[in-house]
């Protein structure tokens, strides 16, 4: 795939949460860059996708935000995980692993024992 794919909704929340979990409190720009990097630049995140998703997570109480200063001394809003957010990561991770493991079986069928 040469084109960059847009992120599809359900997965973005988990990506964002995992990113913040890994990096600690982070601003929107940092989150976007990090996700793009990890995806090997296969994903592109525009503002219209990222920020509503952040807002939704905040409204749901998974993350909290706070104004701070970036490494380059720019004023930016930092997002950090809440306890509910950690729980959400655990749960979503479990669900994804289950889903992918099931899907994997379909995609690479194992020969049934005779």
């Amino acid at each position: 795939m040469g084109e960059k794919t847009d992120v599809w909704q359900g997965t973005l929340a988990l990506m964002v949460l995992k990113t913040i979990e890994a990096m600690g409190p982070l601003h929107g720009y940092g989150i976007a860059r990090r996700i793009e990097q990890i995806s090997g630049d296969q994903l592109s995140l525009n503002y219209g996708t990222l920020y509503p998703a952040l807002l939704k997570l905040e409204q749901e109480g998974a993350i909290a935000s706070e104004w701070g200063t970036s490494e380059n001394n720019r004023k930016a809003k930092f997002y950090k995980l809440t306890r509910a957010g950690r729980r959400q990561i655990e749960q979503a991770t479990r669900e994804w692993e289950q889903t992918t493991s099931i899907l994997t079986r379909f995609l690479k069928p194992v020969k049934e024992p005779a």
Binding site: Y47, G48, R74
Partner: protein, 882 residues
């Protein structure tokens, strides 16, 4: 959990928009800046860095929009904005707002109030266990469809029937509660032992009557209603077991009924006692004083019950040919007994209320139409600026909702007052035992009805303007900016609505006319008495003080003497029942010297004193009145009414003829000494029955009414009458002091007719006003739309007269269509009203004709004003306006 939390946060997001906007801007700004920084770090030029950063953002405006949508609830936000807009639009047109709200409020209040009564009287189940299986069971005779049951027949029916789980009987009654100084007459009911169990009612306190407690000789016990318990005994917890003296006899209180208990057929009864069938009446099979109530067995229909009882009645007729000749059976649902007589009136009034609401809705719709015409351009502009059709439609929905919620809301508030006001108009005796009439409107039915009405109206007010505006071709109308086509379209729709309004107004006017005529016929019915200046009250002479008949007549003679001596008394009389009351308390008579085959010649019996008929000023046609010296020691005499003379002595002179009971027992034989005109004993709308008037002193009774003809205003003498009787004997009960005119006015037939005529006339008046104003509006609007056409006509030489004729012709066509449609509906509607009319046919030509003429004249007057304005159009001005 999560989504609820998010929802609340989004709702909260409706506030503090400015700060949020600033934050988004800053956050996006920071994001762009960081991107630029990084780009520069990677070696791009300033320009490239900037361009790349913008490109990656994916469009800042769209992003902000998405962010805003997520931070609040867009639908809610639109709704709030639309609501503010709608309220502002209403406030810009206070006249439209005020009239629409008023019309809606009146319409909603009228229909909801009547619905509350219909609900209470007809829809709510009776408060008994499984009320649908409770039947009103009585005997029937040639004269009475629902005749009392005699005790001995009751016992046989109870024993022989195979259709009831239980079958009990009740009758009215009254006691004098002895409270030291005076005796308080208290309405009561006497019932058989299982009466409350048959209804499925259990006393809240104490016990029910046990089986057999109603038999003669058992101890005297009484069960109180909740109201009596509170009113007479202060709600004392230890009331059970107490002894009260009722009419001189000690009774033990054994129970108190729950506060929810009601029994409309004996609605005012406060004391319930076991029947103790020992009176002279209850040992005589030919004396009927009970009503039955039965609980149908599972799976038995009313028809089956009737068939079973009819065959039992036929068997009893064979066994007891003397007493039971032509005594059949009737069975009807208890609910029918309680609500049956008011059903047609209530339903008619509900229809009236609904028509009023309909006309209000139609009127508001045509106002909305006229208004939406002027908004065509506004909508076209909004639509071409990108407002979607859904968005425009939601604007209409909101406006309709604001209108309906405000209007219907105030209507619901008004309903509360209207119900209370109407209840106050209902005489107390009708309210007694009908607590549903006093309950408010907040029943489940009422709420559902209100919600349905609100939704229907909102839908109607949304559909009308949006269909009319054809939301799809708004652009074209902007392009044309024309009035021509749209104007015609509006005229068609608007004028059709006016036809409906006029038709409804006509229906209501006809109904009001017929009802008014009924009332007038009813109040002018021949009474054969002069009701003015008659003070009346009811008296109960306690048997424990006056056990013998002679003692009663001695007392009544002394009472009459003293009352006659009061200032202003012209004459005085007493009777067992006052006129304009009911046909009943009958006697079976047989004439000496006439062929007799055992038939029951049933006539009203009234035991009256000598001056009674004179006091009423009932015209004596032949013979003489009684004298009070005609007592038990003298030969028995009677006065008969004209109806009796006509029926039994056609072409003969009844004076001097003799009659007696069905066996012609010597001590019942009496001689006819006078014929009096047909005094109306029954209600105003019931026929005259044959009647016999017997000397009170030969047939004394302990319950009777006193009538006094006075010089002065009759009610002023009542206190004096009461104190005189009290002085004579404080233990004599005095009830219902009043005037004969009051009693006539409050009698059910008079009262129900008046109330319905009054309400329907009110509805018709409002409907007429709305219809005529609607017509005026349509014609005026049409004139304003046709100004140019009129200008051209006049410029081409049309005269003023022909122009106004043009307009009037249009108005005339609408009026004619409205009247024609209305007439068809009215003929249909009045046929349904037949039951409630008195002395008027449903298709009363004079009423129909005068209503048609009236409506036509009023309509033409209303259209004359705009027609004259049209005729005065200045052609030059008119042509310049376009």
């Amino acid at each position: 959990m999560k989504s609820i939390r998010a929802f609340i946060r989004r709702c909260a997001g409706l506030f503090g928009k400015d700060r949020r906007e600033q934050e988004i801007a800053e956050e996006f700004q920071a994001h762009v800046q960081m991107q630029i920084d990084e780009n520069l770090r990677r070696g791009m030029t300033q320009e490239q860095a900037l361009r790349d950063a913008r490109l990656r953002s994916g469009g800042l405006t769209a992003a902000k929009e998405a962010y805003r949508d997520r931070s609040t609830l867009p639908i809610l936000e639109d709704l709030i904005r639309d609501t503010f807009l709608a309220v502002r639009k209403l406030r810009q047109r206070p006249l439209f707002a005020a009239t629409s709200l008023l019309m809606l409020a009146i319409g909603v209040a009228a229909s909801m109030t009547l619905f509350a009564f219909v609900d209470g009287a007809l829809l709510q189940p009776l408060p008994y266990r499984d009320p649908n299986r409770l039947m009103d069971v009585t005997e029937t005779t040639g004269r009475f469809r629902r005749a009392n049951l005699s005790y001995l027949d009751y016992l046989d029916w109870k024993k022989l029937n195979r259709v009831f789980n239980s079958f009990d009987a009740y009758t009215g009654g009254g006691y004098l509660l002895n409270t030291g100084t005076v005796s308080m007459p208290i309405p009561a009911a006497r019932v058989t032992d299982g009466f409350f169990r048959t209804l499925g009612v259990t006393p809240a306190l104490g016990r029910d009557f046990y089986a057999g407690e109603d038999l003669p000789g058992k101890p005297d016990t009484v069960i109180l209603t909740d109201a009596a318990w509170h009113k007479r005994f202060g709600g004392a917890k230890d009331v059970i077991g107490r002894t009260v003296r009722l009419s001189g006899v000690p009774h033990t209180i054994v129970g108190v009924l729950p506060s929810s208990f009601q029994f409309a057929p004996r609605g005012d009864a406060e004391l319930w006692t076991p029947l103790h069938a020992s009176s002279s009446c209850e040992t005589n099979r030919a004396c009927h004083d009970l009503y039955g109530v039965g609980r149908l067995r599972e799976g038995i229909t009313m028809q089956a019950a009737l068939a079973n009882l009819t065959s039992i009645a036929a068997e009893l007729e064979r066994r007891y040919p003397g007493s039971n000749r032509e005594q059949g059976a009737t069975v009807q649902p208890l609910a029918e007994l309680i609500a049956g007589d008011v059903r047609p009136i209530l339903l008619m009034l509900l229809c009236g209320g609904a028509l009023l609401l309909l006309i209000a809705c139609v009127n508001i719709a045509s106002l909305l139409l006229a208004h939406s015409e002027s908004r065509r351009r506004e909508l076209a502009v909004r639509s071409s600026l990108g407002a979607s059709r859904g968005r425009l439609l939601s604007q209409f929905v909101t406006e309709a909702l604001v209108l309906v919620i405000a209007g219907a809301g105030s209507g619901f508030l008004l309903t509360g007052f209207a119900v209370r006001g109407l209840v106050r108009l209902i005489p107390e005796y009708m309210l007694a035992g009908r607590p549903y009439l006093e309950s408010g409107v907040l029943t489940l039915h009422g709420l559902v009805m209100g919600a349905v009405l609100t939704m229907l109206m909102a839908a109607w007010f949304t559909i009308i303007p949006s269909v009319h505006l054809h939301l799809s071709d708004l652009q074209t109308s902007l392009a044309e900016g024309s009035r021509g086509s749209a104007g015609r379209m509006w005229r068609r729709l608007g004028s059709n609505l006016v036809i409906i309004e006029l038709a409804i107004a006509l229906v209501l006017l006809v109904a009001a006319g017929l009802l008014t005529k009924s009332v007038s016929r009813l109040t002018h019915v021949e009474l054969n008495l002069v009701a003015d200046h008659l003070a009346v009250l009811d008296v109960a002479v306690p048997a424990y003080r006056y056990p013998k008949d002679e003692q009663v007549t001695t007392f009544t003679q002394r009472m009459l003497e003293q009352l006659r001596a009061l200032p202003g008394v012209v004459s005085i009389g007493l009777a067992t029942d006052l006129p304009v009351n009911f046909n009943g308390n009958t006697d079976w008579i047989r004439f000496a010297g006439k062929p007799y085959h055992g038939e029951h010649n049933e006539v009203n019996e009234r035991d009256v004193t000598g001056d009674y008929l004179r006091t009423l000023k009932a015209p004596l046609l032949r013979g003489r009145y009684f004298s009070d010296v005609e007592d038990a020691s003298k030969p028995r005499v009677a006065i008969v009414n004209e109806a009796l003379a006509r029926q039994y002595f056609p072409g003969e002179d009844p004076i001097g003829k003799r009659f007696g009971n069905t066996d012609l027992k010597p001590d019942t034989m009496k001689e006819i000494v006078g014929v009096v005109a047909d005094v109306r004993e029954g209600s105003l709308d019931s026929p005259i029955w044959p009647a016999e008037y017997l000397p009170f002193n030969q047939n004394p009774a302990r319950n009777f009414s006193v009538a006094v003809r006075t010089v002065q205003a009759e009610e002023t003498i009542l206190p004096l009458m009461m104190s005189t009787i009290r002085r004579l004997d404080p233990e004599v009960g005095i009830m219902n002091p009043g005037t004969l005119n009051q009693r006539i006015d409050d009698s059910p037939s008079s009262y129900l007719h008046r109330l319905s005529a009054f309400l329907v006339a009110g509805f018709a008046g409002i409907a007429l006003l709305l219809g005529v104003v609607g017509l005026y509006g349509v014609v005026a609007y049409s004139v304003s739309q046709r100004t140019r056409e009129i200008g051209i006509r006049m410029a081409l030489g049309a005269e003023q007269r022909s122009v106004s004729r043009l307009i009037l012709r249009e108005a005339g066509r609408l009026t004619a269509a409205g009247i024609a449609g209305g007439l068809v509906c009215a003929l249909f509607a009045t046929t349904l009203m037949k039951k409630i009319l008195f002395g008027v046919t449903a298709w009363d030509v004079p009423t129909l004709a005068s209503v048609v003429v009236f409506l036509a004249v009023v309509s033409l007057l209303a259209s004359y004003i705009p027609a004259r304005r049209a005729a005065r159009v200045n052609p030059v001005e008119a042509l310049r306006t376009e």
